[in-house]
Symmetry: C2
Subunit: 330 residues, 2 copies
């Protein structure tokens, strides 16, 4: 563990900020506008860093950026790289949006926030690699705050990263979860197991009785040890993503493969679509609330297929995937 | 108009059954079990007829049938033909399911039916033709009944058919809506405009501001002129489907086309997936209520693609489609 992780652990330990006993968010140490600026600066730089890493695998192609504005306030920059040698499609968006009155549909579980002024910032990505031996991946880091009518600031962080292999390699998954564990460690021993479990539960296709992939981290309402410590956790997750994913890209992107593997990848990508359109709260809320459709749906696979009644041959590499689509410790 | 249509019109005119003044369903003339049998016999024969019509276009391939049972009661027969010369995928399912207690999620708009014994029968199909000049189509005819606690039978019919072209031909769409109008005519002048409008409203992708296609008919809670007349309407819709669709298949299935048209078809099939997984009540309810996933998702296109920010070239045949994706009179 590096000096940076140690410093974060110290911060987590020494934080003297009390935690709300009854709710998972709190109003102690309300963030100032300089906090919003700090989060934005981090997210923008994170998006740039991740794009540079993806482009380092691509001999020719570069991300195309669409900067957009939202009439109600804020905007974003959506970046997509399509048709790469390694990444068939890589989409990564930054957005900072705000409004004067949170719609009730966005505050179902927090009715006291309906009608409050709010801001939300985040970076979200989905990468669909070309080689079927390379897993699809998703990462998201986000921040939300609302001003209550009595002048309090309610805020929390959310996000995580998860991996969706087609042909799983145990060593890759152990590495992936190893980084996830390392990211969480400075913030308390309970963090990794809790957010790993949440990830398994969130990315679950009930109608298939399958997880979306082999998981990772998922968290929401994260307010632990005050703003600085919570933001430090968000940065740990954001920074951890590349450490978790890049070694897998390096190792697997040139694995020889043929039509059989491609067809299986296209088929399994159907599950990604099923999850994102049927269950994913961010996708559904975005579409229902008039978000920018193209930015929301850049998570969709570039090509895919559905096949009625498909069952891989018993004992095949394709049948083996099913063993990985139930929660498991790594 | 043939003798059959005239007879139906007479039936609609002479029906002396009163209509419920306050609700769209009624309990007059409760259907007996012989009615359920009559509906089942019609639906089974309809599925057979439609399969035979599809197979008549296929030199070699035949439907594969999966008969299934539902632990809670009932079952169905799901038929799929995949990889045909004309039909890249044709899926058509018959089901007859029942239960002792309607779940609250299935009776949101009819809270008085929660917990009642119920039966549902239907035939549902989605055809994805191979040639991009041939439209995708969907048809559904269904019947629902529930026994209230005070011994009444609440029942209604639902269904419709709609067309989703990629390269629209006005004469085909006029023919399609012409059959829809003819189907409705014997049942009253208001039926076609009402169910045509309902179709435009139902098959609408709010996040795209597009209809799914050029529409047709959609209806639910259909109880007009008693059971016999309502069932006659259902049969008119079911029988009308082949008259509406087959001439288009005959005319367009061999239209010369190339990669450009295929790519556009694959792209537009993404919209079908978006509609079915985000909006379609039957699909969502089926998946959430533990329905047979493979039967529900046989509506999914066999192959498709998504492309971030795709906009067809101005003035192109592909751009022209957009003019057809807003409600219009035919």
């Amino acid at each position: 563990m590096g000096a940076w992780s140690a410093a974060l652990r110290d911060l987590a330990r020494t934080s003297s900020l009390p935690r709300c006993p009854l709710r998972s968010y709190c109003t102690f140490m309300p963030p100032s506008s300089s906090n919003l600026q700090a989060i934005e600066a981090y997210l923008i730089a994170l998006q740039d860093r991740i794009c540079a890493s993806v482009e380092s695998f691509e001999p020719v192609l570069r991300f195309r950026e669409d900067a957009w504005q939202r009439p109600e306030g804020g905007g974003g920059r959506t970046r997509v790289l399509s048709g790469g040698k390694v990444f068939e499609q890589a989409g990564i968006g930054f957005s900072r949006v705000s409004g004067n009155a949170l719609p009730p549909s966005a505050s179902q579980h927090r009715p006291e926030l309906a009608g409050c002024a709010w801001s939300a910032l985040g970076v979200s990505l989905v990468f669909h690699p070309l080689n079927p031996y390379l897993p699809t991946t998703h990462m998201n880091v986000r921040y939300f705050e609302a001003q209550t009518k009595d002048g309090q600031t309610i805020w929390w962080f959310g996000g995580g990263f998860d991996l969706t292999p087609f042909y799983p390699f145990d060593e890759d998954i152990r590495h992936w979860h190893g980084v996830a564990r390392e990211v969480c460690e400075p913030f308390g021993a309970e963090v990794y197991p809790r957010y790993k479990k949440w990830c398994d539960e969130y990315f679950y296709l009930k109608h298939r009785k399958e997880t979306r992939g082999v998981g990772g981290l998922f968290f929401d309402d994260h307010v632990v040890g005050g703003f600085d410590n919570s933001f430090a956790f968000l940065r740990a997750v954001g920074d951890g993503f590349l450490r978790a994913y890049l070694p897998i890209v390096e190792k697997r992107h040139a694995t020889p493969c043929g039509e059989r593997e491609r067809e299986f990848q296209l088929y399994r990508r159907g599950r990604y679509v099923e999850f994102n359109l049927v269950y994913d709260r961010g996708t559904l809320f975005g579409l229902q609330s008039g978000g920018r459709t193209e930015s929301i749906l850049m998570s969709m696979p570039p090509r895919l297929r559905f096949e009625y009644g498909f069952t891989p041959e018993e004992g095949s590499a394709e049948a083996r995937l099913m063993d990985y689509l139930q929660p498991r410790e790594w």
